[in-house]
Symmetry: D2
Subunit: 452 residues, 4 copies
């Protein structure tokens, strides 16, 4: 998964991009980069790691002059965590520098890439993003925007993308609007971001979402919009509401926090936990879920697990005994709260289930009498081809197991999921308004070719 | 402030030290180091930054062989954040390598240092810890322990300290036991740590606290104890319970979480907030406080502020406008929770008040109607000479201001502190059992000489 | 200028490449790199600086496994000393990894690049070398070698080039054989190098030169040769004999040292220095020249200048006074040898003349009575389009100045150059056998398009 | 061995120190450092490696402000090539910063160190230099100079040393003047250096040598001299003339180049090589020797070996075969010069003989008929306790072998050394004027205690 940020017409463009990426750090922690445009050239600084690591020296902004910039935080969705795949990617098309930042995944990447290579194209990265640039380079057209429009007709899948050239900033979103993409304004500047939390941090105003199938070109003459795909049914990613987006963001025209609270209430109704003494969350992502559940179920909310926020990348410990301790590095249990209690643990979702399994073992070791797990979303049974970094189907806990089996695997006293209908009711939207493929297997865009 | 960790008689001593430091990372984020003893030599790895940064390469443990080790996490208490001050410090005394890790502050450091220099001593660091080694080097005695005992008679203040030599591990604690210091056991190994959370992480058993005025020597013959100062009234630092120690630790013979919950309940009784709609915390340190307050006051606990845990060291932004945004990098407000509400914000303590001031401004900007601040400890009016990294007196918000003035400065609708009596009642202990100097000005050990 | 090295069929291929580059370090000090082929993949290590700097950690060879390898030392000929231009360059052609190392310069690079871009090619570097790969990617053909043959029909200029794929090693040389290129053998391995000194270092046998217009393919079936251009008049770069190649190398079928000695003897005949007391060299490149001149002229050879070999890259000094000292960092004068003497200074060539000017001033300051400069080659009046890193024409001292003017500019008492005829006579070869364009303006291959 | 440099009263003091160290780089390549004094403080930059590596960033000079500075280049004489031993060393004596740079070795270091430790001194390095500071710190006295004078009465051995404090620059030399030490002047500034070549580079005037047993104090009132030891017989290190000092320096009141030429002439007389065709040198240190020998012996001087100046630190090669090639990395043979010739190889000295042995094997492999080695100094039979980095006695080739044995070991056709008398005659000085201990075993100052 990734987060993107664009600024046009502000003398501090790259610093604003930096802060916008900071606000969206949760969308990708593997790498970060910013490209700015100044005097006919593009300048890039990027690296692996968090935004604060990659941009730890203020001097890097000396090289990132100019009034427009784009930024990218990346979490690899394909396993190739190579430095050269960190965005924004930079290319020379006819010796014009061009840079691209992309959130989402193309579903016909392998096919198109193969065809382009047969025609002599030489790829620099293993990203699907690069395909768009090769297509663009081969199209005729008066402007980069014209060429981009034609190129996008040849790809399918999910994309919210930003392109910067020395003169302009271009934004485009796939016909189904699978990933979020917002337009904002700060005085004379236009801003683009995956989530509105970036605008809030900067004190900027949210104007509207980029429409599915829309292309925006921002240049010295202002903002130009064009619907490059006919309007169709949006299929927004419901998982953005469940887990991925920040609770204080507004995406797909709704507040994330509000939707998430509704999930927790319906969950409490659908999956009560009679006999439980307290409700705890798996901090921090499910705090709101747990609090909502507790209130609706009229149970006490307690802080029974504390997350250790100093945990960085730890290396693989030399002995099994030490490796087993790793979950304790991340979470501390508060024994006084837990001992001899029957506890509801609320989490937002289960993907592999590995951490939850370790966590419930830890809770039991702290004296919990019974553990009831309640999940604020349906079972994740199918892979995502649109950019959510789920593992392959075989690693998804729910893919091959019934709820009873899962309860046995994670060794808890009860396990309850939110239903698909309950989830969709919480949104208040039409059932087709969201992509629920990871839960339902109902894919709005069919992947072609070998997807890697 | 600092955290220390010692291990004797385990083949993975330095890895255990690493994990023990990890668990105690909250006690010092400025630097970390480990010294191990192997085949007559000491080996050190240390650096500035977090434990996970300093020990990011597993290969560093190749140099840290041996069955005993000590570790140190440091937060400078004097402003000299020089790399050479990061512990454990290493010296050669008569060409015997010796290393020391120290939590606490000496109060006669300047005097003793000056006298030692007049006698020709050459100091390598600006720490007070080094004084102990110079004193030791000048004392006669059959063993390092004998010499240390004599050396400690010449210093005053707070110290929990660990010394490692190629053959032994020595622990000593000041006569008043100002800082916490615990002894544990993991199979055949003895462990020493500032807080028991380090033992919990390692699956080790907590045996007992090191006694005030006690010296422990652990060598191949086992554990030897000696009371090197006569028993006297302990004066444990109450601020460890208020803020500094981890809630899941047991220090000074009491669970931190339990004491902290009592603080919050007495606070609710002493400082109600009639008219308030909800209670929120300043995450993460005051979550428990806020939850306890809400429950006692019969108010709704909500998550109105979310801490951004990706915030690393940010550099100083180039413009004032951007600098003003910095509090927003750390905290996100959940507008749906806050808008048009009258809110109680619970925090554990106020030192300078700078962050709280920015935070309440942020809350108001998010639509909060009224802000009531409630603090789970009394006003901090006096400096700490025993190792808590408070600023100088002039920077303490409460030093020169009445509560009314403070309420005006941080611009809130009401402000209420826990009373000293309320705080002490919560502990259930004798009033003299704790050092409350930062609140009361009543110092158990008087600083001498210029304190730097 | 550059140096290249290739090895096929030796288990220590990358280490041999390293040593072969070491021997050819004089051909390029700006960057170095090695690519090895192992199990269907290519592995690269490269960087800016000397071979010993780039390969300072033995661990880099752990990543460079495999039985074949190519290497490259680079001195940028176009001013873009960008890290990404350091060779060997790596590409993916149809997802087959391919790497190329190139010595020489193409003369139609700008034209071909522009045309390729119009067809959608996206360039990764600003090198002319990359053009060859794009051409190859667009050609049809059963093998990489077939496609390379077709691609090379579309470029003109100087090239000795090596291409490595997971299975084979390909060598090709331009139709005029402008740059040197040698084939050697070490037991079962084939070796390719710019100069034979690389073979001598490795204890390998020199087999023969790659022929002008020849392509060699070495694969598991052995060595295959093909004349991909009709045989024509070779035009070897005479400047390789004058200055560039190492004196102990054999290039263009002749020993460099032997030719260089002949230059010095003919120089002594053509440009005597009556009245001179001693002959000194500008160490180290003209030592042989100076010794040969002295012997032929029956004058004493002395060591009057000592080169300081510790001089690394010095930064620009803050004051003019210090900048003026810079030549003294490089050369020490031996006053006892020089004082009150009339001195012949022999150098191999003059390009800009900057150092020589500073040097003669230094000699005068050391008490030399008269300075006679004798140059072992004709005046350099024209740019080189084939890879020699001469400056632009306006910076060449001899481009716009008569010998009398040059004598005045470098402020010496006499100045004498070797004649073009004298130079060619020394080689014993046919006049057309060598490219003398930098002296004569007679270019064997005409540059097309904007040369950058 | 080491080189030192001091400047007092120049606004570019640290830059001058840098250049002075550059000129003296041959005296130590293991580490370099500069300390400057500014506004009551000392500032240091140092590191391992060459001057150009350690001072590769001009920004380091921003921290080295001030009008006085000292510098140090180091070659460890004791095997501890630890970073913390790189000079100038810095200490705080009574919280006054003080820094010291030292060329030479103390002979009673172990004894004094042990005594100081018994008194409680804590050593930071394993250098003998640190002893001087501890002694100084324990002495009473009105000034640092007074205390230094008293401290130096307690040490014995060789020292040319520089001490800088915020206010003054102090120079002192041992009673025998074993190592060189020169005073110079550049406008209003005083300069001190091991060798005059540093003054020549800076365009400064050489004033005189520091006298054996003299202490100089330079402060705002000017230069003050004091003879702190009674005048006695100087015992200058003859090896400085033979090999160590730069040929263009003037040390011990004589030009190095001039003395070295005399050595070569007497060598030619004492050790002719009848039947030889040519004379070659082992470049670069013995070029002058070889040329002088050739001229006196009426033989042709030729360049048969070329030193590869790009050779940096190479790592240990993985296979023996590659390790055997290492001498070829350093030296290229010019086969055309050597083949079928009977060759005199002149070198300045033999210590271990390892390189010479490899070199003669290389010459034979290049077709030399006979190799006659002639050495411009007597056999090195005894260790040096005064700072020359000879190996232990057992590693000295001449310690246990007759000349016939040595000839067999290095496998040459003849071997001839300069005699001790011949060497001393060349200097024209009294026999007792020089220390010849490494040749004669006649030590002017007897080492005490365990020398490490």
């Amino acid at each position: 998964m990734c987060g993107i940020m664009g600024i046009y017409n502000n003398t501090e463009a790259s610093t604003l991009a930096y802060m916008g990426l900071y606000a969206q750090q949760h969308r990708g922690q593997e790498g970060a980069g910013i490209v700015s445009a100044n005097e006919g050239k593009l300048f890039r600084h990027m690296g692996q790691g968090l935004v604060s690591d990659v941009f730890s020296e203020p001097s890097v902004f000396d090289e990132l002059q100019g009034n427009s910039a784009i930024g990218h935080v990346r979490y690899s969705t394909t396993g190739e965590s190579d430095r050269k795949n960190v965005g924004p990617l930079m290319f020379n098309v006819d010796d014009i520098p061009i840079s691209i930042a992309h959130n989402g995944n193309l579903v016909n990447a392998a096919d198109v890439r193969r065809r382009l290579q047969q025609e002599g194209a030489i790829f620099q990265t293993s990203t699907d993003t690069e395909i768009i640039i090769h297509l663009l380079a081969r199209e005729q057209g008066k402007t980069i925007a014209d060429r981009l429009e034609r190129a996008l007709q040849k790809v399918a899948g999910a994309y919210s993308l930003l392109i910067i050239t020395p003169d302009e900033l271009i934004a485009a979103r796939d016909p189904h609007g699978i990933r979020p993409f917002c337009l904002g304004r700060l005085k004379d500047a236009y801003l683009l971001a995956s989530e509105t939390c970036a605008f809030d941090l900067l004190g900027a105003d949210y104007l509207r979402d980029i429409k599915p199938g829309e292309m925006l070109v921002i240049d010295p003459d202002g903002l130009h919009t064009k619907q490059i795909f006919p309007e169709t049914q949006p299929r927004h990613c419901i998982f953005e509401h469940i887990y991925f987006s920040r609770p204080d963001s507004r995406i797909f025209d709704e507040n994330v926090d509000k939707i998430r609270r509704k999930f927790s209430k319906i969950l409490a109704d659908e999956q009560p936990a009679p006999g439980a003494d307290i409700v705890i969350s798996v901090p921090d992502s499910s705090n709101t879920n747990a609090l909502g559940y507790a209130r609706r179920a009229n149970l006490k909310y307690e802080i029974g697990l504390i997350r250790n926020h100093y945990v960085g990348r730890t290396f693989i410990f030399p002995s099994q005994r030490l490796r087993d301790l790793s979950v304790k590095l991340k979470f501390n249990t508060v024994r006084g709260v837990l001992k001899d209690r029957e506890v509801v643990v609320v989490d937002d979702s289960i993907v592999r289930g590995t951490t939850l399994k370790k966590l419930t073992r830890l809770l039991k070791a702290s004296g919990v009498k019974k553990v009831h797990v309640r999940i604020g979303s349906p079972p994740v049974r199918h892979p995502c081809f649109y950019g959510m970094d789920f593992p392959t189907e075989t690693e998804l806990l729910a893919a091959d197991h019934s709820e009873a089996e899962m309860q046995a695997i994670i060794a808890v006293d009860s396990l309850g999921y939110l239903s698909i209908d309950g989830m969709l009711n919480a949104t208040g939207a039409d059932k087709e308004h969201f992509c629920t493929a990871c839960f339902s297997g109902n894919y709005p865009v069919i992947p072609k070719g070998d997807h890697d």
